[in-house]
């Protein structure tokens, strides 16, 4: 028995609504992140991730309400990211029911936030989201603001630094691959996973089940995150589990034995 590879559906939320419209049958309101989270909870998602892309202050207020309502009906670990700037932002999300909080731009601007949050809430709830683009062979640069702003910072060096500062997990997204459905940037994922002591989530580019498998077998990720293949029902979570298991990865069976 050992730790299982986690499969994490990710929902982009803007002003309290899911964007990149999801087409589940049977949902009363397909744009409601709470209903979608509940659906994935029922399918046995290992964790659920909300990334808030609201630009406005009002939009962010709505996110807290979404997290609160999700925590009432979902008994799945929940990571929430987007627009987090201070330890008080962390606290508000954790109190609302998030288990982990992801920071991206703020960690680049002010890496001391990582340390402050880890001291106050524990490293286990501090996820640093690393958005990187390839700039040369085995070389990647950190981008912020949803991939728009280059920083000149080396991704691998940054990853090691934030782990030293107390990050409990890294969410590694390839900005070259995100949205392409051509698979994770496996070299990037592996380079980071092999050089840090904390778990790494692979993100960006999943188009099929083989991509999830490669994230683990070749990218050395501890968890695989995907959005559209689950949202559009290209594949179910059960199919993803089966594909990973067939490749020799340890996955969770949501219910075993005589648990009803």
């Amino acid at each position: 028995m050992t730790l299982k590879v986690r499969i994490i559906p990710c929902l982009d939320v803007k002003d309290g609504r899911v964007v990149k419209g999801v087409q589940f049958e049977g949902l009363r309101d397909a744009g409601d992140p709470v209903e979608q989270a509940q659906f994935y909870d029922g399918e046995g998602a290992d964790e659920i991730c909300f990334l808030d892309i609201s630009a406005s202050h009002e939009g962010r207020g709505t996110l807290l309400d979404v997290v609160r309502r999700t925590a009432e009906v979902c008994f799945t670990p929940l990571t929430v990211g987007g627009g987090v700037r201070t330890t008080d932002d962390f606290r508000a999300l954790l109190l609302a029911g998030a288990d982990k909080v992801a920071i991206n731009t703020s960690a680049v601007k002010d890496p001391s936030l990582v340390t402050a949050a880890a001291r106050r809430f524990g490293a286990q709830c501090v996820v640093v989201a690393i958005d990187a683009k390839q700039t040369g062979p085995e070389q990647w640069e950190i981008f912020t603001h949803g991939g728009r702003n280059a920083t000149g910072i080396d991704a691998l060096a940054f990853a090691k630094d934030v782990v030293d500062r107390g990050a409990g997990e890294l969410l590694v997204t390839s900005m070259d691959k995100d949205g392409t459905k051509s698979g994770y940037d496996l070299a990037l994922t592996r380079a980071i996973a092999d050089s840090v002591s904390v778990p790494v989530i692979a993100s960006g580019g999943v188009g099929n089940l083989d991509d999830l498998v490669a994230g683990v077998t070749q990218g050395h990720a501890n968890a695989v995150l995907a959005a559209s293949i689950f949202h559009f029902r290209t594949h179910t979570l059960a199919e993803a589990r089966a594909a990973l298991a067939a490749a020799g990865a340890k996955v969770r069976q949501p219910i075993q034995g005589n648990l009803r």
């Binding site: 028995m1 050992t2 730790l3 299982k4 986690r6 909870d41 046995g44 290992d46 609160r68 925590a71 009432e72 009906v73 008994f75 799945t76 670990p77 954790l94 109190l95 609302a96 029911g97 288990d99 809430f121 524990g122 490293a123 286990q124 709830c125 409990g168 997990e169 002591s197 904390v198 778990p199 790494v200 050395h220 501890n222 968890a223 969770r252 069976q253 949501p254 219910i255 075993q256 034995g257 005589n258 648990l259 009803r260």
Partner: protein, 206 residues
């Protein structure tokens, strides 16, 4: 009445919602020693560092004494979750050593899976293998995968106090401890979907 102890160290909302979903009626979220003195069931959550949680517990006037009286003296059912479970130990060894409640013999120490490929924190779903325990038997009837997030683990002084084991690489530690009316779980039942809710349901029934 069930009291969920609010001492500034836990994911109270998730624990409260899960207890209600598992059938708890009349959940009171409080740190008031007078309320704890009347509670039939007491849940102590805990997230973060052992020393911080122990300090927060000590910081509430009369809380420690109320717990001692109600749980150890009068036998109210007690459930500690994550660091709330670790606080049952005699001592926590985590950046120095900090005394715990000492209700179940043992100490906490860092997880050593013994391979650089196995990351710490031990974060995610792993198997809890129950020993002989009525609550686990009734809830699961075998092993289940549940959600863990921790870097330190409970090392029980007496193996019979371990209600479930977890193995991570070369390390093997208590996924749950139990003694008389006192139980603690290292994993998060409030985040372990049906396996977690089933366990809470049986704990509430006993």
């Amino acid at each position: 009445m069930l009291t969920l102890i609010d001492y500034g160290s836990g994911n109270l909302r998730s624990a409260e919602k899960a207890l209600v979903a598992a059938g708890a009626r009349d959940v009171c979220v409080t740190a008031d020693p007078d309320r704890i003195a009347k509670a039939d069931q007491i849940v102590l959550p805990g997230v973060g560092a052992f020393a911080d949680c122990a300090a927060n517990l000590a910081a509430v006037d009369g809380l420690r004494e109320a717990l001692e009286t109600r749980v150890r003296g009068e036998g109210a059912a007690f459930l500690g979750i994550c660091v709330g479970m670790q606080l049952l130990a005699d001592v926590g060894i985590e950046f120095g050593s900090t005394p715990g409640l000492g209700w179940i013999g043992g100490k906490t120490s860092v997880i050593r899976p013994g391979s650089s490929e196995l990351k710490v924190p031990h974060m995610g779903w792993n198997t809890a293998e129950p020993t002989k325990n009525a609550v686990f038997d009734a809830a699961w009837g075998g092993a289940q995968d549940v959600y863990f997030v921790h870097s330190f683990a409970f090392r029980a002084a007496h193996n019979p106090d371990v209600a479930a084991w977890c193995t991570y690489g070369a390390d093997r530690f208590a996924a749950a401890v139990a003694k008389d009316n006192i139980m603690g779980v290292q994993f998060h039942p409030e985040k372990s979907q049906r396996a977690g809710l089933a366990l809470l349901e049986e704990w509430l029934k006993q």
